[in-house]
Each structure stands twice: as C-alpha cells, then as structure tokens.
C-alpha cells in the first residue's frame, strides 16, 4: 500500500496572520516531500479551489478545510469531502464574523489570488481573524449538515479547546483533536481523547513540511477519515 506524507493544517496568504509569501508559487516551490495537504485558512474557504487546482501539477492532493474561530475563541478545524460544501460552509462562517472593518496595517493583509494564482485584490472585509457569533456547539451542528470532520485545533495552546473551555463540551462528538507533541498526546489520552491528528499549522513557507505519514490506498476524504478513526495517522515529530 502506498505511503503518503501529509500536513492538514496550512494557511495561505488569505489568512491575515499568515506570511505574505504563502502564495501558490511558494507552495509549488516548497511542497517537496508532501503529497497530501489541507488548506485551512482562518474563517474562509475562498482559496481552496485555486490552490487545489494549481497543486495538481505537482501531484499534491488537497482536502478542503477551514479553521473556524468560535464565539468562545476556540479554533476548530473542519474538513469536508466536497469543495462545494466547504465553500458553502465558509460563506456561512464569513457572514457570521464579528469584526467587519479592520486595519490591515495592524492586523495583517488578507490577499486574494485569482485562478492563476496571481494577486487579485486585498480582501478588506470581514476581518478573517475575528470570531464567529456562533458558539462551538452551533458550529458543530452546522458542520454536521455536510460530510465533514470536526477537529478542535491545538487544544492545549492559545485559542485551544481545553485552554479556553477547560474540557470538551458534553454534547459534541469530536472526530479527533489536533495535538503538537508527545507530551500533549499523553495529556489528551488522559482526558479520554482517542483520535488524533498532528499538523504544523503552517503560516510560513518553511512550515510546509510533512507532519504525518499515512499508509492508505488513495488520497480521498473517506480514506483520510478512515485513517483518523483507525488511528493510522502516524506523527513525524518535529520537536
């Protein structure tokens, strides 16, 4: 069975906090060694289509994703089977963001690319780094109207589920949690979590590196989901 090298938490130049070099050109240059990724911008899905299409030329498959900021300021990764579903969900999230106006000089530029990967325009509103008016429970319910995975990001860190909410909300069935190192993995197991993913949360080109390897038949959403549920996502620890 083939082995794929992956990283499922990657920001593009559209995320205000990502480096302005996170353009499609840089992805084409830096993604060597990776062949399966997810584009997970903050509270938007507008770049999934462009990047997925352009990355086909170097045989990198893209799982459609988003990193949502809930009302509680918890960051959640949501992954979708279909780009169309991700884009619809992304619109709902963008429309729910609580900061419409913002100062890019202070908070970072949101750069939108055209279908060829070139600069299209500065995306001025809403501020994609702001939080949704929806609670984590509401976002969960909306996400589950699609074939999707709901995975809280960096749970023990800033904007993490455990940091902000103390423990997992009782009514949510979390598909997995994202953790960063062996110590966090042990801590998460003690809290009762069973499924995990390990990502670099790339905001800079040098973070476009494999963080997991997965042995599976094909790079599809169903295989991605199965690998998580069957605990076949093998971490490649960086630290």
């Amino acid at each position: 069975m083939p082995v794929f090298y992956a990283n499922f938490h990657i920001h593009t130049v559209l995320s205000p906090c990502a480096d302005i070099t996170m353009t499609p050109d840089i992805f084409l240059e830096y993604l060597e060694g990776l062949n399966w990724i997810s584009i997970t911008d903050h509270n938007t899905t507008k770049h999934i289509g462009v990047y997925s299409e352009l990355l086909k030329s170097i045989d990198v498959k893209v799982i459609p994703g988003i990193e949502v900021t809930s009302k509680e300021e918890v960051h959640i990764l949501v992954y979708f089977e279909k780009i169309k579903d991700a884009e619809e969900f992304g619109e709902i999230i963008e429309n729910s963001l609580t900061m419409r106006e913002y100062d890019p000089d202070k908070l970072g530029y949101q750069i939108l690319c055209d279908k060829n990967g070139n600069f299209k325009k500065i995306y001025e509103t809403p501020f994609l780094g702001s939080s949704s008016k929806f609670s984590i429970d509401e976002i969960y319910n909306i996400s589950k109207e699609y074939n999707s995975l709901f995975i809280p990001a960096h749970i023990f860190r800033f904007n993490g589920l455990i940091t902000n909410l103390g423990f997992p909300p009782e009514n949510l069935v979390l598909d997995a949690v994202e953790i960063k190192n062996k110590k966090e993995l042990e801590r998460a197991k003690k809290l009762g979590f069973k499924n995990f993913i390990f990502n670099s949360d790339a905001h800079f080109p040098e973070q476009l590196i494999p963080s997991v390897k997965i042995e599976t038949n094909a790079r599809t959403f169903e295989e991605f989901k199965k690998s998580i549920m069957e605990r076949k996502v093998m971490p490649l620890w960086q630290h």
Binding site: E72, S135, I136, T163, N164, L165, G166, P169, E170
Partner: protein, 111 residues
C-alpha cells in the same frame, strides 16, 4: 457580601438566583476556563465574557457561587438550565467588565 447587595445595585440584573443570602467572599476575572480551574478562589464571584455551558461545570468545580457577564452579552439557554441544576447564581451587568469589577471590589473591601 450577600448577593442581595449586588441585586439591589442598578448596575446588575439577576438572571437566575439560587438564594439571595449566599455569601460572596472573593472575586476573579477571566475567559480562559483552564486558568479559572487552576486559580480562582472558592466562595467567589466570577466575571467573564464566556457564556458557554462549560462555565457552570467550572464554577461547580472551584466553588464559585456567582457568575456575572458584562454588558452586551447573554447567557446561552443551556447555560441557564445548567446553572439551575448546579445551584450557581447568574447575573448580568449593565457595565463593561472593568467597571463591574470595580464596583464589586469596592463593595467587598468596604466590608
């Protein structure tokens, strides 16, 4: 300070009160529930912007008896339901969190 002191003050509005004779001995402020679990004192009032039902479980664990949210925020209905089940008082302030804390702090040290 009895919680009835706070309810009398025009800057606060009751959402759910278990017993207005409950005593508040201390206070704490914060939005990170993991931090509240580590450091908040018992028999206290907690000022926060978080309105998720998890705040009730956290309050129960550290024996916070009253949660107050500032102007512009609303408790979720599930949170109010859980407050009733767990005997936690809920108040809303008509002020921002800094001013609300100042009013409560002043009342507590005057005692």
């Amino acid at each position: 300070m009895k919680i009835s002191e706070l309810i009398k003050d025009k800057n606060f509005e009751k959402v759910y009160i278990v017993d207005d004779a409950i005593n508040i001995k201390n206070g704490y402020i914060g939005d990170l529930l993991s931090e509240i679990m580590r450091n908040a004192p018992g028999e206290s009032v907690w000022l926060t912007h978080q309105t998720h039902p998890n705040i009730i479980a956290v309050a129960s664990i550290v024996e916070i008896n009253t949660i107050i949210i500032p102007e512009g925020f609303e408790f979720e209905s599930e949170t109010i339901k859980k407050a009733k089940e767990n005997n936690i008082n809920l108040l809303k302030s008509r002020c921002n969190i800094f001013k609300a804390a100042g009013i409560i702090y002043t009342k507590l040290i005057e005692e």
